[in-house]
Structures are given as structure tokens and as C-alpha cells.
Symmetry: C2
Subunit: 105 residues, 2 copies
DNA sequence: GTTTAATGCAACTATTCGGTTGCAGTAATC
DNA sequence: GATTACTGCAACCGAATAGTTGCATTAAAC
């Protein structure tokens, strides 16, 4: 159960502004400047958030002329979801086992 | 797509120590004091983390004599995973749509 | 080539957060 | 009832973080 790379992903997802960015990017790829026009924070704040999101692989960037466009990587979200679900299921299995043992006493 | 209650859950999951607590609780229910014996932080630090985890519904507590035992709620993890997966799939669908439109130009 | 519009970098601030120590309260146990 | 062992609360500290402003840089557009 390697949670090594998983924890930073959740940390990245644990911020409202970053979700605002992800949702905005869901409408289509956009640059930090473009996003700044839609969200109530400065371009620089958004650039920092995008760096965090890119660091954990939730977005990727592509140069288009003089702008840097960002794209959401939905597959990475699904991957994190899959791993989380397996951990949750494992815990339920163990708890069920513990409960069964307790009831047999 | 109500992410309202979801974001704090991810914030809670974005900390290594809290994962340590969750994993330890996976071995069986335990009190903050008991967990302090297994993890490299003080009982009070663990108590704070447990409060965070309980706040977002990832653990629940039960009084047993003079101790407060905590239990992991794996189903909550799975629920969060399910919601995350749906969001990821939705984004992939949108991106595929955008890509298709772009290719048709 | 000058202008324009984007990104990159740096410094600074306020707040949050993870952690600690210390002590008060409370409920079993003997 | 005194002791023991757990929880609860509060103050404090350092580091990280979310945000800002300001300026330098770079590349397109005219």
C-alpha cells in the first residue's frame, strides 16, 4: 500500500482555490492570465497553484505562442480515486474481520 | 457537482501523520494515548489530528470506560473516492469533446 | 524596432498548521 | 477516598502556505 505519491495529491486537492482552477480548466485549457480573469485572486497566486497542481501531476502545460496553457489530467484524478477506494475497501474488510472475531468471543 | 464537503476531506488526507494514524487505526480501534505509543508525535498532536479526521467524517469515536476509542470509517473513504472518480471521468469526457471539436476544424 | 501582452522572479505579509509543553479535570481502580 | 491513568484545554513556537505588490523578461504584433 504505497501512499508515498498519493498524499501530496490529496494535499493539492485540499484547497478551494485550486478546485476553482480545476473547474475553470474543465471548461477548456487556459493560461494563468486567462484564469486570473475568472477567479478572485491574482495571476501570481494562480501561477503558484498551477505549479502545485503540476508538481503532483494533476495538470500539464503546453506552450502556445507566448502563453502557457494548462490542461487538467482527469485520468490522474481517477487513478487517485481508484487507489483511495481500494484502501477504503481494505479497511472495511479488516474492520469486518475484527468485528466478527469480537462477536465470536 | 457539490465539492463543498469534499475539499476538507482531501485536506485531511493531505498529511502524512494523519495517514499514519489511519493506518494504525486500521489494525484496530485505539485511543489517542494508545496511538501516541506507536507514532513519533505526542498524544496532544494526535488528538488534534483525530479531531480533524472526525470533523470530516473519516473516523468516529466511542467512549469505553475512561478512554475514547477511535475507529476508521472506510466507507467514507470509498465515498470520497467515488465522487473523485466521477469528477475525473467528467473532465476526461469534456476534454475528449473539446479535442474532437478541435480536430473537426 | 517599438509597442504590447504574456510569463518569471523576488520580497514581503498574514494566517494557518503541525507540533510542543504544562496543567486542569475526570473517571476507574485499589 | 487516595491513587492512577486517561482526556481536555490553553498558550506558545516555527515552518509552511496563500496571498499580495512590484519589477524584469520574453516573445508576438504592428
Amino acid at each position: 500500500m504505497t501512499t508515498s505519491t498519493l498524499v501530496p495529491v490529496f494535499a493539492a486537492l485540499g484547497d478551494e482555490t485550486r478546485w476553482g482552477i480545476l473547474v475553470a480548466l474543465g471548461e477548456g485549457d487556459a493560461s494563468a492570465s486567462a484564469l486570473a480573469g475568472r477567479l478572485p485572486v491574482t495571476r501570481q497566486a494562480i501561477a503558484k497553484h498551477l505549479a502545485v497542481l503540476q508538481e503532483v501531476g494533476l495538470v500539464e502545460s503546453v506552450r502556445v505562442g507566448r502563453e502557457l496553457r494548462y490542461r487538467v489530467l482527469g485520468a490522474q484524478l481517477s487513478e487517485a480515486a481508484r487507489r483511495l477506494d481500494r484502501i477504503g475497501a481494505e479497511w472495511d474488510r479488516r474492520l469486518a474481520g475484527i468485528k466478527r472475531i469480537a462477536e465470536e468471543l
